[in-house]
């Protein structure tokens, strides 16, 4: 990953630009600085996204159009607040623009089609880094009344879409897109509580997603069909190891991902009980496709696809990363939770 960053000066520049935009938005004082940070970070991501292949360029184009529309709506709402026009309507406009930017339910259509053609690196950027500024705005909007109700309905429906859409999908990137749709809902609800809680959620989710994606990327697995190319002993045991990420993202208990779910529940049970119930029901549905990731990646070791004389246990960096990310923090966090 670091190697990729420093491969050329331009990509280094644009990754710095991405991070700089986020800081600009989070530390700025006016709404315009939020908008400007959003745009600067988006610019950086745009350059990092556009890779060599035609598919990547196409998905970058789609992403560009959608994001430009949403950020201009955002700008319009900011301007209308500043200028004093349509003051009653402008929060609706702002929420709509943020929903488009995040890919929440009525505007979720761009997410799978964009993400399924991107490179894995830009998948991480789109599903984690690009969420920060819109959710920062969400957590500071202090939504109330009908608007909050509207956003809640959108989030519930979006969680439903994220759970049901992933069923039967064979491409890992579109699966991860649906998983990112459903995790975005969790993040938004967490950010209603406070922004720091959202940052904790996002950082854990970021590391889990980063581990899964970087392992898939380094093994060049894009669809289920690519699993047939796994031939060497080491890559087989590595794929077995990275299959844990699937259940971890699903939030099964021994893994770290369960902490996310627990954290979400503890924070938002008192304010949004109905939302918690809906999200948990949908996470049972999404467990089906996470189980698919798990079983598809570990299928060689499960069914004994190959015969070889001896198998040395290969502790590659991917395997170590998987164990460190998935198993150890979950256990430790739970022991700490046991004190309270």
């Amino acid at each position: 990953m670091v190697f990729f960053m420093f491969r050329s000066y331009t990509s280094f520049l644009f990754s710095v630009l991405t991070v700089f935009g986020v800081f600009l938005a989070l530390e700025g004082e006016s709404m315009f600085s939020v908008w400007m940070g959003m745009e600067v970070s988006f610019l950086g991501v745009l350059f990092l996204m556009s890779g060599e292949t035609e598919e990547e360029v196409e998905s970058t184009m789609k992403y560009f159009i959608i994001q430009v529309i949403s950020s201009h709506l955002f700008l319009l709402s900011v301007l209308s607040i500043v200028g004093g026009w349509w003051v009653l309507e402008s929060p609706y406009l702002m929420v709509t623009s943020l929903l488009i930017k995040l890919g929440v339910f009525p505007f979720h259509f761009w997410v799978p089609s964009v993400v399924s053609q991107m490179s894995y690196f830009s998948l991480i950027l789109v599903s984690a880094v690009q969420k920060m500024i819109p959710i920062w705005v969400f957590s500071n909007l202090n939504l109330q009344g009908g608007l909050l109700w509207l956003v809640q309905v959108a989030l519930v429906l979006s969680a439903f879409v994220g759970a049901v859409g992933g069923l039967g999908v064979l491409h890992f990137r579109s699966l991860l897109a649906y998983s990112s749709i459903s995790h975005t809902c969790f993040m938004v609800v967490t950010s209603f509580h406070c922004f720091k809680a959202f940052l904790i959620y996002l950082s854990i989710y970021f590391f889990l997603n980063l581990g899964l994606v970087s392992s898939l990327w380094s093994m060049k697995i894009y669809t289920v069909g690519d699993l047939q190319k796994i031939s060497s002993i080491s890559s087989e045991s590595v794929s077995q190891a990275i299959s844990f990420y699937g259940l971890s993202l699903a939030g099964m208990p021994p893994f770290t991902g369960f902490f996310l779910k627990f954290f979400f529940l503890v924070l938002s049970w008192e304010k949004f009980p109905l939302l918690c119930v809906c999200f948990l029901v949908f996470s049972v549905i999404s467990l089906y496709y996470y189980f698919f990731i798990f079983s598809a990646l570990s299928v060689f070791s499960l069914f004994g696809g190959m015969n070889f004389r001896f198998k040395s246990f290969y502790w590659g960096w991917i395997f170590t990363l998987s164990v460190i990310f998935n198993i150890i923090p979950g256990f430790l966090l739970f022991l700490i939770m046991g004190i309270f």
């Binding site: 627990f262 503890v266 049970w269 079983s295 070889f308 198998k311 739970f334 939770m337």
Partner: protein, 436 residues
């Protein structure tokens, strides 16, 4: 909390048991069975085990994570017994793995036993839930990796979806309890009256999770599938320990939430008894030995659930006895089924006829474990069923009829297994082929 005197008793009992455990671990295939049959039958040993912990006064809280009482102590003993038994009985899988990938069965077993050991001694709601679910993933892994047929993927999915889907509402309720009480410690709930604060609706998702884990008829679909597809060691641990997680959780939850016998609980009781009756009927119609044992364990577990829900202390004791006896007995039956499979290459009842002619000593073990499972007098099952029936009778005399029928169908089960001992032409063929 615990006196030195009781520690001495505790140590002395373990001093008795440990040589047997070691013996059964290192002995040949079947000689350990005798010990476990003795364990099934010995009411005395059970009493010893319970008394060694100072019956209902044993309460060990070394730190904020661990709380042990006599029940959890007994369950720890059960986990270790089943672990040793399943290692001893899967000697074949351990020494001669079929494929290169089917090595390491012992590590899988240890991975299942570890969360179970930790589950029975935790002291708070959150670790309780954590280990309750933790035991699921190694079981899934065990079924998927060491199972025999390709259908095991479906069975694993059933296992995961049923138990995880039912336990997420449990998580929600436990988080609710945690937020209301302000602490997840068991001992705080035991000492305070916080258990009365909650509405009875809270029990619906909580009971659902444990009913799926037990399983009660209606939520039982995953169990026979998982048993049929699991390897020997996996189904032994599944029947011996993992079903007991549900019963143990039920006892803990009903005790801590201060549940009393209400009309809803009576309704649940009658449904569960009816389910137990139906599942014992279904077990009589199966032809796969493993699914017969699985369905019979469903009906046993429904008895356990009824006796725990009936809220009598004596019935609770009987339920614990039943869990212990079933936890020792049914793994042995699975082990016997696996060794029947070894000679006949089939788990079908009709292909396994006439064991008596070929292996009289082996069929003696079959007979003795079936008899222990259907609660013939020397066994612990008998004791627990008598106490259980008499206490269930006192909540409603109507329950006697289905319970009696349930016993009848255990007899029917025995009849089906008796067909093992019938002669069959295959024997003659087998004799010709093998030159006996």
């Amino acid at each position: 909390m615990v006196k030195g005197d009781e520690w001495m008793r505790f140590l002395s009992v373990w001093f008795f048991i440990t040589p047997f455990l070691l013996l059964s671990c290192y002995s040949v295939y079947f000689s350990s069975m005798g010990f476990f049959w003795g364990l099934c039958c010995s009411f005395v040993l059970f009493i010893l085990l319970v008394m060694s912990s100072g019956m209902s006064f044993f309460f060990l809280i070394p730190n904020s994570w661990v709380m042990m009482d006599d029940l959890s102590f007994l369950m720890e003993v059960l986990v270790l017994l089943v672990f040793v038994l399943s290692v001893a009985c899967s000697v074949k899988d351990l020494s001669f793995p079929l494929k290169e990938t089917s090595k390491g069965l012992d590590s899988g077993l240890a991975l299942i036993s570890l969360p179970c050991v930790l589950f029975f001694c935790v002291g708070g709601w959150m670790p309780f839930y954590f280990f309750f679910e933790f035991s699921l993933i190694p079981t899934l892994w065990m079924i998927l990796k060491w199972g025999y047929q390709p259908e095991r993927l479906q069975a694993g999915m059933f296992l995961l979806m049923y138990t995880a889907g039912a336990s997420l509402p449990l998580l929600m309720c436990l988080v609710f309890v945690l937020l209301v009480v302000g602490s997840d410690s068991f001992i705080l709930m035991e000492l305070s009256d916080t258990g009365y604060w909650f509405s009875r609706w809270l029990l619906v998702p909580v009971l659902l999770a444990f009913f799926v884990k037990l399983p009660i008829y209606g939520f039982h679909v995953w169990l026979p599938k998982a048993h049929v597809e699991a390897p020997l060691a996996g189904s032994m641990v599944l029947a011996g320990v993992l079903l007991k997680l549900g019963g143990f959780g039920l006892i803990r939850v009903l005790g801590l939430l201060k549940v009393i016998l209400s009309e809803e609980a009576l309704l649940l009781c009658s449904l569960i008894i009816w389910g137990g009756l139906l599942s014992s009927l279904i077990s009589a119609t199966q032809h796969d030995i493993k699914s017969i044992i699985a369905y019979s364990s469903v009906s046993h577990m429904s008895l356990v659930a009824v006796s725990i829900l009936s809220c009598y202390p004596l019935a609770k004791l009987a339920g614990v006895c039943m869990m212990f006896a079933h936890g020792v007995c049914s793994p042995c039956m699975f082990a016997l089924a696996a060794s029947s499979y070894d000679w006949s290459q089939s788990r079908s009842i009709s292909m396994n006829k006439s064991i008596l002619r070929l292996f009289p000593w082996f069929s003696f073990y079959w007979f003795s474990f079936i008899v222990a499972n259907m609660s013939c007098p020397p066994s612990l099952n008998f004791f627990s069923e008598v106490v259980m029936f008499s206490s269930i009778k006192s909540i409603g005399f109507v329950f006697i009829l289905p319970l009696g029928l349930l016993c009848e169908f255990y007899l029917c089960l025995l009849y089906f297994f008796m067909r093992f001992f019938e002669p069959w032409w295959g024997v003659i063929f087998f004799k010709i082929v093998s030159g006996y």
